[in-house]
Subunit: 339 residues, 2 copies
DNA sequence: GTGAAAGCGCTAACAT
DNA sequence: ATGTTAGCGCTTTCAC
């Protein structure tokens, strides 16, 4: 009992045409909503379509029209591993939301070392009308050349700013981190540390830079930095190293909420209190931030909106519209009880 | 500066044939790895392919061969909203992993009320060779009929067990919940409550049932139940209601880790301790479970494996293999410090 | 082992 | 407003 029991073969446009007593071209026009078909004929054709339960074959349509009505979402494997990252989940949600209004469908490509060529072929093989590259990753530029033959929108700037990537949508990470730093300073903290993200990822770099700018403006030292990989465990470890280096730390900025939650563990296990002894500020405003004990002060990142903007930008790009090469989305501080 | 600057049109099989001095049929054979082509000809053709940077056009190939080499992942919108659910994220990861070894690509369809027909058309329009339906949701059966004309594998059983759905892969939720209940009982807890999930989702039902079975076996009352929607906030609220109903609660089982974390908040804010006053056990073993303070005892759910099994099952189904109608994956208890 | 020829189901000029 | 006629780029018998 395996295989596909499909009842006969699928109805074709030709069968609809025969049943409606018109030409295939007319059926095609009706299916594609052409304005130049008389209302009565439209009715007859639609009846036939319904009766036959006809669904156009995409491969044929795409072959003939040279359009696919599909766009690819490329997710580097490293990101897929961090798929648990709520940021990414929300991003995908935003993309889906924006695409729901259109005729486009989403093809998700989980990129891996081995599959790099597979992905490239897919992108270049006429499977999609455009691609969205979601990445926190260096690998970005691997697809830069693809953007020469296919509309592509990147999420997040390339690591090397000099690398000219046509279209990107990014969050203002540096400014968000500055807000976090300023807030800690305003709260009277003076020994402010940072748990930075990987420095081979733009958000890792930008958030660290924002924090540095803020402390420098306040004439505070910027040496208390340890690095994590955006996971909770790495945040805990980084915090332990920081505390070992400087027990008097009274404030810490973590480059994302997951590491901030990890830092909570490390701080609390030493008997220190939050925010009494150490104030903590995160970044992302994921759903756990509000639920943490105490609730985490953090920088809100508009990930849903980022997904929507990426999708809409790509759709316009495919349509041949003129779209800005870079879109920077604003961030804002959400003050809770950890600071 | 918009549009696609593609340098000339993409190379076709015919161009490769011309350059290699063979027929199109031969090139096709080489591309598809046919064994009946002489080695020297293979070499010449591959050289031409490389020189032209040829990539086969999928639409054409799919039209001619009536295969698409693509499979769909259908995600009901309700799930997409809960996309933050780490379970789901990991599931997708497992699917991607399993598919990486194959020639299949993943097409993700985020299903919405409005787009139901869009999704159906896509599935039936010859866009994919099969579909994976990932759902915690009642809506499942909407696709049951699709499975009559397309190989489909469902993640999670249908809500109504009598509903015969061809192929499903599920986690043994009931048994996992029983393990959790038994553990609480063994720890000497006697006023054991449950924060259940929505009862219109199979995991919600099965996990509650498992907990009940365990308590009944221990001759303990099963009335202390409040419901949440699997979000941390709902877990906190449910816990507050439970504590209001019965202040002497000394153990609680939450149907997922997110609600368990929410319960932490509600328990701690009353000055109670974990596990001193109240032992807590969750379900899922997501990445936050281990990082919680105290680390959360929970039931491990093999979500990565579930994704892999779903994908592999579908691939075999497409190949016409005989595959079991139902696969149930085992769960196990992970004991940490919350109990 | 290789080539010739006939489509796969649809769209898009071009006629009418 | 509707029909006719070519293909879109590839796979696949069927001959050789």
């Amino acid at each position: 009992m395996a295989g596909i029991p499909s009842a006969g073969s699928a109805p074709t446009l030709e069968m609809v045409a025969a049943r409606a007593g018109v030409s295939r071209a007319t059926v095609s026009r009706v299916v594609n909503g052409s304005p130049k078909v008389s209302p009565d004929v439209v009715a007859v054709v639609q009846e036939a379509i319904a009766a036959l339960n006809y669904v156009p074959n995409r491969a044929a349509r795409s072959l003939a029209s040279r359009r696919t009505q599909a766009i690819a979402l490329v997710v580097p494997e490293s990101t897929a591993k961090v798929f648990n990252d709520p940021f990414f989940a929300t991003l995908v949600q935003g993309i889906g939301l924006a695409l729901a209004d259109t005729e486009y469908t989403l093809s998700m490509l989980i990129e891996s070392e081995a599959a790099f060529d597979k992905t490239r072929r897919y992108l270049l093989g006429g499977n999609v009308d455009g691609a969205l590259v979601a990445s926190h990753h260096t690998g970005d530029h691997s697809y830069a050349h693809v953007s020469r033959s296919l509309p592509v929108v990147f999420g997040g700037r390339p690591l090397d700013p000099s690398e000219q990537v046509n279209h990107t949508v990014d969050v203002d990470n540096a400014h968000g981190a500055e807000l976090a730093g300023d807030h800690l300073v305003e709260r009277g903290r003076r020994r402010i540390a940072a748990i930075a993200g990987p420095q081979d990822m733009p958000p890792g770099v930008d958030r660290l830079r924002g924090w540095q700018r803020s402390l420098e403006r306040a004439a505070l030292p910027i040496g208390l930095v340890e690095y994590g990989d955006f996971s909770p465990a790495s945040g805990a470890e980084a915090m332990r190293r920081l505390l070992a280096r400087e027990p008097e730390i009274d404030g810490v900025f973590a480059a994302n909420d997951q590491m901030a939650i990890g830092a909570y563990t490390a701080i609390l296990e030493t008997g220190r209190s939050i925010p009494g002894d150490v104030a903590v500020v995160g970044f992302d405003n994921d759903q756990y931030a509000a639920m943490a004990v105490p609730p985490l002060t953090t920088v809100h990142q508009p990930s849903l909106e980022m997904g929507e903007v990426m999708a809409r930008t790509l759709v316009r790009l495919i349509a041949g519209d003129d779209v800005p090469a870079t879109t920077l989305l604003p961030t804002r501080l959400v003050v809770r009880q950890s600071s």
